[in-house]
Every structure is written in C-alpha cells, then in structure tokens.
Amino acid sequence: MKNSILILILFWMAGAGWLKAENPNALFAKANSYYSSGAFDSAAVYYDSILHLGYESAELYFNAGNARYRLGDIAAAIYDYEKALKLNPRFEDARFNLQLARLRTVDKMEAPKRSVISVWWRDLLRSRSADQWAVISTVMIWIAFFMALLYLFAGRRNLRVIAFFSSLFFLFLTLFVLFLNIENYRINQNSREAIVFAPNAYVKSEPGHSATDLFIIHEGTKVKVLDAAGQWYRIQLSDDKQGWIPAEAVRVI
C-alpha cells in the first residue's frame, strides 16, 4: 500500500516533468543510498522508477533484486536476478544471490541428466548475452578486415603471408561467433522463461479451470513458457514436467 502510493507519487512527478529533469543515474544513486540505510521498500520504488523511465542495466536489476530479497518478496527477487543475468550472463554476484534466493523457494527440482556435450554447448551459448556475442563478432570482423588490408598493401612478402592467414583465421572466428550469436538469439526467442508470482498455482492438463490438476508449483519457481492459449501458458519445469497455468500466476522474464 505504502509502496503503491509512493509509485503513484513518482508517476505523477514523472508526468509533471520533475523526474525528467532527474537524471536516471541520480535516481540510481538515491535508490542505492536508501538501500544502504536499510529503507529497502523506498529503494525498490526508486529502482522501479528508473525502469519506468525506460532505462535498464544488469546492476539496476541486481540491486532491485536485493531490495526485494530484503523485503522477503522472493519471487520478485528471483525475477530481477534473472533479468540481470539475461543482460549479463557473467554477472557472478547476481548468480550467487539468485542461488540464495532459490534456497527459499518451495519447489526444488532436479534437472534431468543431459549429455556432457549438450551441456557444454548450452553453457557456451549462454556464457554471453546476444549483445555481448554481437560485440565480439563485430570486433573479430574488423580485425579480419585490417589483416586483409595488410595483406593487400604490405610490401614485404613475409608480412603478407602472415596477414593473409591471420585474416582468414579471424574471418572464420567471426563466422563461428556469429553462429553462436544467432543460436543464442534463437534459443532466447524460442524459450521464454517466467517466474511464478502467485503463492501457489495448480498446473493443469489443458487450458481451463475445469481441467485435471497435474501438480502444484509455488512462488519463485522458474518455468519455461512453451506456448500460449488465451489467458493460459503451457509451461515446462526444469525436470521436464509440462502443463498449463493461468497467465496471471507468472511473470515472463
């Protein structure tokens, strides 16, 4: 209640142009100072206001997640940590805090065993975000380009041989990273993930409240959204169990 009023005030201020003047970085600093003084609810509201202004960063989500964790809203904390990791998959602190937050959820699922190669491939794909992969491939292709220039215009024969092969090498590297990039992007597009926000939810065999109950999941559990029909999502858990769940019970990351 208190939070929603504060949000309303912030929205009003945003409408009145107060916040427009306010630099999102200043808001971030303000939220951080609220957090460090222990006012986690105010901190969370300020972090949200930055998001409402249309700005984001891995650290912003991480801090917002911390504020939610401190407030005991574990589902929202997990959601924010997942968001942070989506922007930066190599965010160690977010990974650590996510692990701690997951300890406090009800559902503990064992992922089924997969082959070493598929796990390694998945880890490789997910070790960078799509944008990070894109930056790497851009850098690679420019290196390949400059090597090609060297090959074309170098006077010395030895230099030209080295330049030729390194250009070729970087070109292949670029193509490989580009492939990873596209795969990563495709996987992310195909597998939307969501966090359960309702305290508990019955997973049904079909969309519709009268369908058979298959099992129950609880708040904070991460699910994969496979399909949607009306106000229902077809979800898959990390242990491969599937079913339909009301869309309002989850929030898509």
Binding site: P24, N25, F28, A29, N32, Y35, S36, I50, L51, G54, Y55, E56, S57, A58, E59, L60, F62, N63, N66, Y69, G72, D93, F96, N97, Q99, L100, A101, L103, R104, V106, K108, A130, D131, W133, A134, V135, S137, T138, I141, W142, A144, F145, A148, L149, L152, F153, N181, Y185, A198, P199, N200, Y202, D213, I216, H218
Partner: protein, 583 residues
C-alpha cells in the same frame, strides 16, 4: 455357551387376545397315529357361542367322547375393560381304517362373519411302525414323541448378491417346556457374519398342520456371502434340556436342516471408485475451517453411514498436495443390528497441517456402492473445499529448519547472505539491443564491403599499370626498328654508327624485357633469357652481333660486315626475338 432360562415364559397362556373379536381354532395332539390309537382334537372358541358352532362331521373317525371347559378373563386395554370368553371342546377320536384321513373344517357363525378352521390331515399307520422313545438323531428322547421338538434354519432370501446382507435364523419348535438350551452352531464357509444379539427369545405359537407348536428364535446371524455360486449352510447342532414333567428333564441333541443359497455375482459396470460396498450408504464430510494459517492444523472428518457391509469397506483417502501434512486418520465405527439389519456409521478423522501459504483445493471424494435393492451401482461424493492458507512459511528467513529438500552445497550456502548492491552502472535505454540493430548491421557489413571495394580499386589500378607496360613492350620493337632505319639516313662515321647499334639494342631490351644496365653482360643476358624461356641461340646471336659491332668500332680493318649488313642483322634479330617472345 450361553444358555437362557425360559421356563417362566413358556407357562404363559398363549391364547391371542383380540378384544371382543370372535375366533375359532382347531388343533390335534398328533398328525400320525397308529391304528387303534386315540387322537385328541380340540376346538377353541373365543368370544363365541357353542350354539353357533358347526363341528366337523368326523366322517373318518369315531367320536369316543367330548368334553368342554370354559374360561373367562378380564383385561384392561388402553383403559378399557375387555372381557374374553374362551370355550374349549375336546373330542377323543379313533380313526376308522388306515391311510390318509381328514378331519373336516369346523364352522362358527359370529358377528363378523363365518369363521372356518383348516381341515387337518391325519396319517394312520400300522400298529408298531412308529418308533418310540427315539430322538431324530437317534438319541434317546425318553418317550418324547418324534417331531415334538425340532430346529429349523431359515434364510431371509433364497438368492442374494455377493456382499448383500441376509439373515440366517434358527428357530426352535417345541411343545413341552424347555429349561435350558445351548446355541445352535455350525460352520459358515464363504460368509462373513455378524451375530444379532437375542436378549430374551420371544415365544410365539405356530400351528403346523393342526399341531400347535411354540416357537422361539434362538439364534440370528447377519450373513454377507463372500463368494458367488451355490453356497450350502451345514446343519447346525444344539442341545436342549426338555422338561416334560416337573421332575423329568432330559437333554436331547438336535440338528437343523441344511440351507442352500444362490449367490449372484455383482453385475459388470462397476464405477472405478467401487471397492466392494454393498448396501445403501451416504457419505458426508466436514472441515473445521477453510481458512488457516501456516502450521495451524485443520480437521477433516469423513463420515459414511447406511446399511450393508459397512465394517468391510474402506473410505476413500483424501487427495491433498504435498504442502499438507496428513496424519493417519482416527477411525470410529458404530455398528447396530437393530431390526436384524446391519447398519452403522464409520467416520475417519484426518488431521491436516498446511506447510505453505497459498490456495489449495481439497477435491470431493467419490464413494461408490452396489445397491442390491435396485440392482445398480450408486455413487455419492463429498463436497469440495478450497483452503486458503495464509502466513509465512519460513518465519526465520533463511533459517535452516525452514527450508527442505536441499543439496549439500545448498546447505553450505544457508549461512551466507546475499552480496551487496553495485553502485556503478551504465544505464541504457531498455529494449534497445545491439544485436540485429542497424548499427550492428552497418558495423558488420562495412568491413566486408570496404574489403571488396579496396580489392576492386587495386584490381583496377593493376590493370591500368599492366596495360601501360604491355604498350611499352609492344612499342619497343617498333621504336628500335625505327631507330635502326634512322641510323642509315644519318651521316655518321663508322665509329658512331657501330656504337649506336648496341645502344639501340640495349634500349630495346631494357623496354621489352626490363633488362637492367647491370644485366648488360653475357651472363646477365643469358640468365634473363633463360627466365623468359627464350631460346639460348638468340643470346648467342646477340652476343656475336654485339661482338661484331665492338670489333667494327675498335678494329675497323677486321670488320667482316658492312654497315648495311650489320643493320640488317640487328633488325632480323629483333624480328626473331619478338617472334620467340610472342610464341
């Protein structure tokens, strides 16, 4: 063995009192007599006059004597005084002849119409054929006539469904007083049974073929057949102490008849919930509350009641999610055999402890049974509940006992706290991704395009450079030949003339095959020619040409060739060399 004293009971007068209602009854002391033996026939008139009686004609009998006795009794029923008059007329008869004889009906005119007794059949056998002093089982009955006491087993139904309840009763028929008896017992194979307790056997009168018997149901059992097919209940055996005079009590053994029962299988099409309940039931449930806090126990009570094999059935178990701890139920059973029917209630009390907050469904429970009265399966269900559990599951946040299902690594993490917030960040407009953006495409495609562009430019330049060279090469021969022709026209002395020819040739070679000044040696020429793949003869010819020119300059007397000859040779060599290069 339990035995019941029944003497007092049996001494009560058994005349049925029906107020002022008239009644007429006839009885004989035995149905089978030996020839010449006397038979006693008694007519009992209640509330009637003898003048209205028409006694039987006794066509097959000879009336030896008749006697009368009357009795009057006053009863107060519902505050009303009723007077009952009873007149007994006893005839002593002797049957005439042997075989089946009949005592005809007696008639009485009364204020409520004509009363008529049933004719009584009497069997007259040859003297000495009736066994005396023999019990039915061959035991000594001490002069007690046969069939004066017997035990009958009877079933309430001849046909029943498997699991359907039915009543087996043992009735003792007797004419003399009984001081003591033991319960009849037999093996009941294929049945589940429940004893109906008889506190005080009720004694009734029954007239069987004219003979009045006193009857008492001595044992009752409710049976539930457990298998289908023809089931046989073996004869039950019992011992009775018969008292037929005050000082003469004898113990006799009796055996009942065997009873047959046809047990039908339950019809097909049982609902999946059916688990053997046969009868008529109803099921209900109560939940202590639909609102609860975490760890606050709730009580769910399931109750099933009705008639049938209630003791043999189990109630369906409530299906609850793992978020509830369900303790083993407390089962209460109340069974009654009132009305010779097994009925009762069975209740299950479950203790439910919610462990997580949320909204949970407790589905309705289905219970199915077979109703033998209609021959159909029936299903009933309890109501469903929605339990709202509030509160916090893990009150001590991150506390070790609050969480479950953790791995070893997780438990080590429990003591740790989350990492602190980051204060440095680069906020970006959300929704803008670099990958697949215009900037990305430009930056990715630019080097490729630039590379091809540069390649193209370089190719163009090379082409231009190449054609210039070729022109120069093509022109070289023409230029050299022109120079040689020009030499003839010039007024030059021999020395200058012969010095000019090698210079023209050097210039030609310089332009045509890029022969350096440093290479203007015999070896240089040969190496160059070799690398071009030209015939080595051309090099030799060139050398001799050059030698001739040199000789003409420094030793004119020794010169073998004239100026025009030399010129011609040089021109021809150029032609040959050109031909060779073009080949």
């Amino acid at each position: 063995m339990r035995s019941i004293l029944v003497i007092g009971l049996l001494l009560i007068s058994l005349g049925a009192a029906r107020g002022q209602q008239a009644d007429l009854r006839a009885e004989v002391n035995k149905n089978t007599v030996e020839e010449g033996e006397l038979l006693r026939y008694t007519l009992t008139i209640e509330n009637g006059e003898e003048r209205n009686l028409t006694p039987p004609a006794f066509r097959d009998f000879q009336v030896i004597s008749s006697s009368r006795s009357s009795q009057m009794s006053v009863q107060i029923v519902n505050g009303r005084q009723e007077i009952k008059k009873t007149l007994k007329i006893t005839y002593l008869l002797r049957p005439s002849g042997m075989g089946d004889k009949v005592i005809e009906a007696a008639e009485l005119q009364s204020n409520n119409g004509t009363l008529r007794t049933q004719p009584i059949r009497i069997k007259v056998v040859k003297s000495g054929t009736l066994p005396k002093r023999k019990a039915p089982g061959g035991a000594d009955v001490g002069g007690f006539p046969k069939k004066d006491i017997f035990l009958r087993a009877s079933l309430s139904k001849k046909e029943a469904y498997r699991g359907e309840q039915l009543l087996l009763s043992y009735t003792l028929y007797f004419r003399s007083g009984i001081s003591n008896y033991e319960m009849p017992a037999s093996q009941l194979n294929g049945f589940w049974s429940k004893e109906v307790e008889i506190k005080k056997p009720e004694v009734k009168t029954q007239n069987i073929n004219g003979v009045n018997y006193r009857t008492a149901v001595v044992r009752k059992l409710i049976l539930f057949p457990q298998k289908s097919g023809e089931l046989l209940i073996d004869p039950a055996r019992m011992t009775v102490d018969v008292q037929y005079s005050f000082f003469d009590t004898r113990r006799i053994k009796l055996a009942s008849n065997a009873v047959k029962l046809k047990v039908k299988d339950l019809p097909p099409g049982a609902p999946p919930e059916f688990n053997g309940a046969v009868g008529n039931f109803k099921i209900e449930s109560t939940l202590s509350s639909e609102e609860a806090a975490v760890n606050e126990p709730l009580t769910l009570r399931l109750k099933i009641s009705g008639t049938g094999n209630i003791q043999l059935i189990d109630l369906p178990e409530p299906q609850l999610p793992d978020d509830f701890e369900v303790y083993d139920p407390k089962i209460n059973e109340y069974i009654s055999t009132r009305g010779d029917v097994l009925s009762g209630t069975k209740s299950y009390e479950y203790l439910l402890v919610p462990r997580q907050r949320g909204t949970y469904k407790l589905d309705s429970l289905l219970f199915a049974w077979f109703d033998p009265a209609t021959g159909q399966y029936k299903t009933a269900h309890t109501r469903s509940y929605e339990i709202r559990v509030s509160g916090e599951a893990n009150k001590s946040a991150g506390g070790k006992n609050a969480v479950s299902g953790l791995s070893k690594e997780d438990i080590e993490l429990l003591d740790q706290d989350i990492r602190y917030i980051h204060t440095e960040t680069k906020l970006k407009r959300s929704g803008l991704s670099y990958f697949a953006s215009t900037r990305y495409y430009v930056l990715m495609l630019a080097p490729v395009l630039l590379f091809f562009l540069l390649l193209l430019i370089r190719r163009q330049k090379m082409k231009a450079a190449g054609s210039a060279e070729m022109n120069r090469q093509k022109k070289a021969a023409r230029k050299a030949l022109k120079k040689l022709d020009g030499l003839a026209k010039k007024e030059l002395n021999d020395k200058d003339y012969f010095e000019a020819i090698p210079n023209i040739l050097w210039d030609y070679l310089g332009e045509r095959i890029r022969l350096d000044r440093s290479e203007q040696t015999q070896e240089g020429i040969r190496r160059k020619f070799e690398s071009l793949g030209a015939d080595i003869a051309r090099a030799e010819e060139l050398e001799s040409l050059l030698d001739n020119c040199r000789a003409a300059v420094y030793a004119p007397s020794q010169a073998g060739l004239s100026r025009s000859e030399m010129l011609e040779r040089a021109k021809q060599w150029i032609h040959r060399f050109e031909k060779e290069l073009q080949a």
